[in-house]
Structure formats: structure tokens, C-alpha cells
């Protein structure tokens, strides 16, 4: 499964530019599903038929955070703005890859030491610029014109038990879902797999993906914090390697107790390690499903992840494998 993860995280597909990642996912799952479609916003929705007449939905978002070119100056330097929650601090020392193939590095303005210091203190997108090696404006506009999207350009690293890359948020969920699609032979319920668009700019795809489906239960799969690093948020008590988490709440939603209870039941039945999660910030696609139509019982299964929204997000491989087991268990046991 590590090769699948590497394949997915290597693709650059920020919010609204999910074409490349969607094509790869569609290719992976097509032979294993009964139906597959792309909806008006670009969500990839696949169905594996079950026997109970009930419907279960799994969601992972395809998009990743990124940047977009907003200005090209006379010397060929670019200005960018963020797509999703990408801190400008994360860009310092990072390399960017644009959809045109251009590669860029980032630095900070400052005409005096004092100016530079102040810019560094409260860094914003108005004080950083991107150098794509262009020689002048015309050259830059050929390589990355205004409106060109980009992402981090960082590589996948296999540290054994721990894996590091950009866009583990949320390609790790895409990988888990693809694996479930491939391994799942006899689901109890109809299982819908939604690979959603534009989560990072505000839960766009998941707000509408289930409108025509109205499943009995929706489970979003996403990364959560990894609060087990030195002096990390002490109010959160889960860790990497402790198993996928069953989310109780975050800022976006409070998981339906039905979903929490059912996940815990099947995890215990199959002896799968899980942790409970209360996240004091953040939100997932579960928020979109919970308020779709007349309402859907929704929850989230998370993969603890250190350094979320950085170019180097770290997850634990056992948590990933256990998440596959947990989702498979739920699909086989059914929502009731």
C-alpha cells in the first residue's frame, strides 16, 4: 500500500484543480466498483453494491492546499495568494510546483534589516514573492501566468513505520478508500465512495455530493493533529500509532453518536485499535454531510498526522492499515 500512497501524494492537485488526482483515483478503482460518475462540481463518486438496501458513504477529499499566481512583475517575480490554509511561513525554504510545470522558490521582501525583520515577524502574502527563474515579465508570463495554481513540491519519504510527504491531507484517505474498494468483497450495505473536491477552501464538494444519495450514514476520512510532539497541545490526548481516531468533535461538526457507537462496536468486534478524538480546531467533510438535505448521520475517522498543512506531513503506517480494516469492517457489518 505504500506504493499507492506514494503515487497519490506525488500528484499536485490543489483545490479546484483536482483533474490530475481524479484521473489516477478513477483508474485505480474503476475495475472494482459497480458504478462511477463525476458530479457537476467534480466529485468522483463510486458505488459498490451491497444487499441490505441501506446506504453507507465514505468520503476523502482529493484536493490539497496550494497557491495561485496573482501578479507578475517587470523582472519576472511572482506574487501568490493561498488556496486553503497555507501559512506563508511554510513557504520559506519550500519549493513550489505549478500546474504549468514551472518550479518556484519563495523569499521575503525587506529593503532594510528592520523592514525584513518586521515582515518576518508577521509574515503575510503581501511580503513574499516567488522566483521561478524567469528572466523578465514576458518569460514569467509564459511559465506561470496570473491564475496559475501550484502546490508544495516535496517528495515522499518512507521512514519505515512513519511516512512523510506533502498532501497526506487528504491523499492518505484517498489511499485508504482505494484500498477498501479493492479489498471489500461482500459489503452489507451499498457503499458509496466520494472523492471530494475543494475541502480545503471550505467543504465545497462534500456539501452537495450526497444530495442525490442521502445515505443512512456518512463517514469522512481525514487527517487530524498529531499532538504527541514535544510540548504540543496538551488538551488533546491521541497519538501517532495508537490507531485511527473516532472523532467526537472538532470546530466543524459534532459526530453523530450513532456513527461513533457503530464505529466503536465494529472496531471492538474485529479487535482493531482506535482512539477517541476531540480536536480543538479544524473541521472535515462530515460537516457538509451532516447538513445535506434532511440531514445525514455523519462522523469522521481520522489519521493522526504531525505537521499538518506543512510540506512534510507525517503519518503512522499502522494507523493507515488499521483504518483500512476499520472501514472494511463497517462496510461488511453494515450501518445497523
Amino acid at each position: 500500500m505504500k506504493r499507492l500512497i506514494e503515487k497519490l501524494v506525488t500528484i499536485s492537485s490543489p483545490s479546484g484543480r483536482e483533474h490530475a488526482i481524479r484521473e489516477v483515483i478513477a483508474g485505480e478503482i474503476k475495475p472494482h466498483v459497480d458504478e462511477m460518475k463525476i458530479d457537476p462540481l467534480g466529485n468522483l463518486v463510486a458505488l459498490k453494491k451491497g444487499k441490505s438496501g441501506r446506504k453507507l458513504l465514505f468520503d476523502g477529499h482529493m484536493d490539497e492546499i496550494g497557491v495561485v499566481v496573482t501578479h507578475v512583475d517587470s523582472k519576472g517575480f511572482l506574487r501568490v495568494d493561498s488556496i486553503g490554509g497555507l501559512s506563508p511561513y511554510m513557504l520559506l525554504g519550500s519549493r513550489l510546483i505549478f500546474e504549468t510545470g514551472a518550479s518556484g522558490i519563495v523569499d521575503v521582501e525587506g529593503e532594510t534589516v528592520k523592514d525584513f525583520g518586521e515582515a518576518m515577524k508577521s509574515l503575510d502574502y503581501d511580503h513574499i514573492f516567488v522566483d521561478i527563474g524567469a528572466t523578465d515579465k514576458g518569460d514569467a508570463e509564459k511559465k506561470a501566468p496570473v491564475g496559475t495554481f501550484g502546490t508544495y513540491d516535496s517528495t515522499f519519504v518512507d521512514l519505515g513505520k512513519r511516512l512523510v510527504s506533502k498532501s497526506m491531507d487528504d491523499r492518505i484517505a484517498c489511499a485508504i478508500m482505494i484500498q477498501v474498494v479493492k479489498e471489500l468483497e461482500q459489503p452489507e450495505d451499498d457503499v458509496y465512495f466520494v472523492f471530494a473536491v475543494q475541502e480545503e477552501v471550505g467543504i465545497v464538494g462534500a456539501s452537495v455530493a450526497a444530495f442525490d444519495i442521502m445515505p443512512d450514514m456518512a463517514v469522512a476520512i481525514d487527517v487530524t493533529a498529531g499532538p504527541d510532539t514535544p510540548k504540543s497541545f496538551k488538551r488533546m490526548g491521541f497519538k501517532l500509532g495508537g490507531g485511527p481516531t473516532i472523532k467526537i468533535k472538532d470546530r466543524g461538526s459534532i459526530s453523530s453518536s450513532r456513527v461513533v457507537t457503530r464505529l466503536k462496536e465494529v472496531a471492538e468486534k474485529r479487535d482493531i485499535p482506535t482512539q477517541y478524538e476531540v480536536l480543538i480546531f479544524g473541521g472535515t467533510d462530515a460537516r457538509g454531510y451532516q447538513t445535506t438535505g434532511r440531514g445525514i448521520a455523519s462522523g469522521t475517522v481520522s489519521i493522526p498526522c504531525r505537521y499538518v498543512h506543512s510540506p512534510h506531513e507525517m503519518v503512522d503506517y499502522d494507523d493507515v492499515l488499521n483504518a483500512v480494516r476499520l472501514l472494511k469492517a463497517l462496510a461488511e457489518e453494515g450501518v445497523e
Partner: protein
């Protein structure tokens, strides 16, 4: 006067929640040209111009009828009115401005302490909204209460004016969009499109994109084009890379804004259409700020949109400025897009 009807639209009072005058004016203007027209429960004005039946597709053109303004929050003992903002209003643009209060449109002014009596240190400081009051000429609460009450809408009182290629007015956001829709309808001149064409003049955009989702639920369009008025930011004190847009460079196209990345295929179609018709255009180069497109993406099964705007300086103030040619460019681009219908090919 180059834009008589835009003048009329801008001078009509219509803060969020009080858009009736705008919708009835538009209704009267367009009803002879459409096949069906109605005002829905929340106050959206929706019109259908039926297609020739070649396809079953639906295109929705959308603009919002509401403008930012104020609302009476309290009638004070001294007969003055305290107020809150409806939509995003910077208190700095309010001091010394003329307003119209209530459905009766009673003229008033927003006063502030005279410069003579202010401490040097407080000059140019931003007062909180709570410190500003509306003076209508009453001296007692009882007097003011006879014709006013808590909840009275307060409108900016700015006559529309044109100077050369520029127009100054309140509520250009989004009466320019409202007028674009009317002009598209007129440009069809009775001919029909290959698809059903819906026009939605929607309420309460400024307080949280509230009308557009309701309109979309009644129409269920395949694609929407949102016509907006957007921030210029081409102030001389800012370097040009910080300008969101600038006046005189043509219609503004949006690739991403708050809460949504706009559909790439629709954006590409708009860009190609502008280029092939030699129309100038510019991109909005800041992601901040949103439009009804963010709501449309989140209703029913998700409606993909394009956003085309007229740029405006001093937007959300009583005196905003547009370049008339930018506006005419938006109207022309809109008419071509509707006639060609390419934005519907998915």
C-alpha cells in the same frame, strides 16, 4: 447621462432585507420580455426566458439587489438614532454623511464631534459604530418615536453622477450586476437561446449569500453566471501587486475567491470568449471576498459558476466609483456568452 437606468437603480433604496423597490422596478422593466416572472418567498425576483427547445439545459444569470447600509438600533432620549451596520460598512466612511431613514426616507445626517472641540490626538481616529448617531432634527425620544422605530432601514443618500467615463454612486454593488442582466435580456431582442435562460435578482447577498441558494433551488440550473461589483484597490498608496483590480482595465474575472475555486472550464470559456471578441479583461488578484457563487456550489447537487464583475473604488461606501467602459464591457461580454451558450457545455 450615459447610463440613465443604472442611475435610477442606484438611487433606489434597498439595503439587505428591504429590496422591494429594486425588485419591483426591475420587474416592471423586464416583464414584457420574459415568459414567466415571479417574486419568491424571500423576495428574489426570478424570470424565465424560454429557450427554443433544442436542449433541456438551463443557464442562470444572477445579481444581487441588496446594498449595504445601516439599521436603527435604538432611539435615544435626545431624539437621535443609534444604528448598526447591515453588511460590511467601515465606520470611517459614515461620518458627516447624509442618510435616508425608514420607509418614509426621512433625511438625516450622521454627525460627529466638530474638529474644533476634538483633542488633537483623537482626530483621524476611527470611532466605533456605537459612538456615531443619526440626527433627524428631533429633540426628544417621544418626537422621534412618532415616525421611527427600532429596525428602520437606513440608506445612504447619494445622487448618481457621471463625470466623463466615470460614475459615482452608492450601491453600484450590485446594481451594476442588476443592470447587466436587464441589458442581456434586451440584447436578445426577442430571439431565443438553445436553452432555458433564467434571470435571478437575489436578496441579502451582503449579509451572507442568503437569497441565491433559495433561487437556485427553484431553478436548478446547470450553470450560473454571477454578475458582481468588486473591489478595485488601485489606490495610489498601494503598490500595484496589491491591487485587487483596477478601473479602466475591463471586466474582472475571478479564478478563486473566499470559499470557492471557480469552475475552470467556465472560466476558460469566458476568457476565450473575451479574447476572440477583442474585449479587454482583468483577473481579480486577491482571494479575499466572496460572491453568491460560493453558495451556489453548496446547494442541490452543486452548481458550477463563473463570476464577472465591474470593478469599483471605495466599494461599500456611500460614494463608490466605476469606470463606465468597464461596466459596458461586462454587459457586452455577458450578452455574447449568453448568445453563444458555450458556458453550458460541460
Amino acid at each position: 447621462m450615459k447610463l440613465e437606468r443604472l442611475k435610477k437603480l442606484c438611487e433606489l433604496p434597498g439595503i439587505s432585507g428591504f429590496e422591494e423597490k429594486i425588485s419591483s422596478f426591475i420587474k416592471e422593466t423586464v416583464e414584457d420580455r420574459v415568459d414567466k416572472i415571479w417574486i419568491d418567498t424571500v423576495g428574489n425576483l426570478i424570470a424565465l426566458k424560454k429557450g427554443n427547445g433544442k436542449t433541456s439545459k438551463k443557464l442562470m444569470l444572477l445579481a444581487h439587489t441588496d446594498e449595504v447600509g445601516l439599521m436603527v438600533k435604538k432611539i435615544n432620549e435626545d431624539g437621535t438614532l443609534s444604528f448598526t451596520n447591515i453588511g460590511g460598512v467601515d465606520p470611517r466612511v459614515l461620518m458627516g454623511k447624509k442618510v435616508l431613514v425608514g420607509e418614509s426616507l426621512t433625511p438625516g445626517v450622521i454627525g460627529f464631534e466638530a474638529i474644533h472641540t476634538q483633542d488633537r490626538s483623537s482626530i483621524l481616529k476611527t470611532p466605533s459604530m456605537g459612538k456615531l448617531k443619526i440626527y433627524l432634527g428631533y429633540s426628544k425620544k417621544e418626537e422621534a418615536s412618532k415616525s421611527h422605530r427600532i429596525g428602520d432601514p437606513v440608506f445612504f443618500d447619494t445622487p448618481y453622477n457621471e463625470i466623463g467615463d466615470y460614475a459615482v454612486a452608492k450601491s453600484l454593488d450590485d446594481r451594476t450586476g442588476c443592470e447587466v442582466l436587464i441589458r442581456v435580456l434586451e440584447s436578445l431582442d426577442g430571439t431565443s437561446t438553445d436553452f432555458d435562460l433564467y434571470f435571478a435578482w437575489v436578496v441579502q447577498e451582503e449579509v451572507g449569500l442568503r437569497g441565491s441558494g433559495v433561487a437556485a433551488n427553484q431553478i436548478k440550473p446547470d450553470v450560473a453566471l454571477v454578475f458582481e461589483n468588486t473591489t478595485a484597490g488601485d489606490n495610489p498608496e498601494l503598490p500595484d501587486y496589491r491591487w485587487a483590480t483596477s478601473l479602466g482595465r475591463g471586466p474582472v474575472l475571478t479564478f478563486a475567491h473566499s470559499g470557492l475555486v471557480l469552475d475552470k472550464k467556465i472560466l476558460d470559456t469566458i476568457v476565450e470568449t473575451a479574447k476572440s471578441n477583442s474585449l479587454s479583461f482583468q483577473y481579480k488578484s486577491r482571494i479575499a471576498g466572496g460572491t453568491d457563487a460560493a453558495r451556489l456550489a453548496r446547494v442541490i447537487s452543486g452548481i458550477p459558476s463563473g463570476v464577472i464583475s465591474t470593478p469599483s473604488r471605495y466599494i461599500h461606501s456611500p460614494t463608490s466609483i466605476i469606470n463606465i467602459n468597464d461596466f459596458l464591457g461586462v454587459a457586452k461580454l455577458a450578452s455574447i456568452l449568453v448568445k453563444e451558450g458555450k458556458v453550458l457545455s460541460r
